[in-house]
Amino acid sequence: ELYESPSRLQVFYTHLCYTILEVFGHIREFMRKWGLEQRKGAVDNNTEDFAPLFNSYESFHTRNVYVRNRDCFNRPICSVPGAEIELVERKSDDYNWTFYYTGEKIKVLNMGSYNYLGFAENNGPSSRCAIKSIEDFGVSSCSSRQELGTLRCHLELEELLARFIGVEAALVTGMGFATNALSIPAVIEKDCLILSDELNHVSLILGARLSGATIRVFKHNNVQDLESKLKKAIIDGHPLTRRPWKKIFIIVEGVYSMEGTITPLPEIIALKKKYKAYLYLDEAHSIGAVGPTGRGVVEHYGCDPRDVDVLMGTFSKSFGAAGGYVAGPQNLINHLKNSSHSHCYATSMSAPVCMQTKKTLEIIMGLDGTKEGQRRIKQLAENTRYFRDKLKKMGFVVYGNSGSPIVPAMLYMPPKVAFFNRLMLERKIAVVTVGFPATPLAGGRVRFCLSAAHTREMLDRALQAIDECGHLNGIKISK
């Protein structure tokens, strides 16, 4: 795992940037307040007896920092997010307060989408299968799984998924975020304790909060910190009643998309066995992309999937689809099918999406008689290693594990986040840059997402552009 803490100079510059932005932000707020400047953002003219829609100070950052960089975020696209992607060109005449479309499209190399195995295609077997299923099943079942929403394709996908992962049973839901947010409350209740990694995805945090359990946060991928918190929790018990916890859950992700790190699964499994805790593993980014046959972090480390109590994953990153799954013992899945909100209330997974996922899974497993799935997994691993090595040789500060298909390179401060993004777009390459509050204050970064659909020429073209932009940005500062 690569991690290089920012130099003092970079931290100083980043805080200098935020201080200057804050000072000018206050000047602009003052001008907007006294009518010296026309207010363009959302205004909450709430009458007295309504609760305020938002706390005006909380949108200070949005108005005075985010808006200045807003042209780099949420770009509309008009094609599949494959190796190449088409962006809708948009311009702004008032410093990103409003945009208008020029009617042009920009065809760029896509280094920003989660399309690890390159199955985001509008041709090929998966999409043909999806298109055909629209004729058979229609687009939506318009009903929850517990009522009329369960289709044959759902059952087939669940059975295939359980076989792929190597556990007894699985269930699929129509949305990745909801899989976490709605399954955790069905498994964990009030008198339980949750030990959550500090960089867990917001869907895990929301699910943990909805469950009403006590939540304690341990340092990212820090097994010692986790063990000390586990030990303390077992000794102390519930803070009020002092009774032992009903259940202790450790919730971690397989691959952390912002850091590019992989969770130390063997150590965590050893801890859960030692302290009789349960383990919830979110393989959103690793299922399909990590491991010799794409079976995720469990296979990457050669662990036994039955050692993980609840396996979760999504289909949006490697399968070119949407939705998520929970896999585990049969009784757990039966319980979730009875009591998880996603099975009672949410519309079941759309049939075309389900068929896209199922066909992709068959290709990955080699059930379609070809080696295409294996080839893509190998291609992704090769692309990842090649790209990461080149970036490090160029002098970028690169984070994370060499096996993860996400390669974060540090930019630190918000101006560089925007400048790098715009420079790369000028060179017809789309990248995703991320800044505060999605990362720590001095943690602005660009997150390259590799894909099996990228050819070596594409990667070399991207690396050359990155080299130029990195030089202009002054971010090739790795020690």
Binding site: L16, M413, L472
Partner: protein, 39 residues
């Protein structure tokens, strides 16, 4: 470019950039003037 990026001027609008540079200039001129006086 590094000056614009490291002081976030790159994100500010032209009037704000002029205001900021003017303040910096005033600070440097007074510092130079005081140095001259005191030395």
């Amino acid at each position: 470019m590094q000056y614009l990026l490291n002081t976030a001027l790159y994100m500010l609008e032209p009037p704000e950039i002029k205001l900021f540079n003017f303040i910096i200039l005033v600070v440097f001129v007074t510092a130079a003037y005081s140095t001259y006086i005191f030395l």
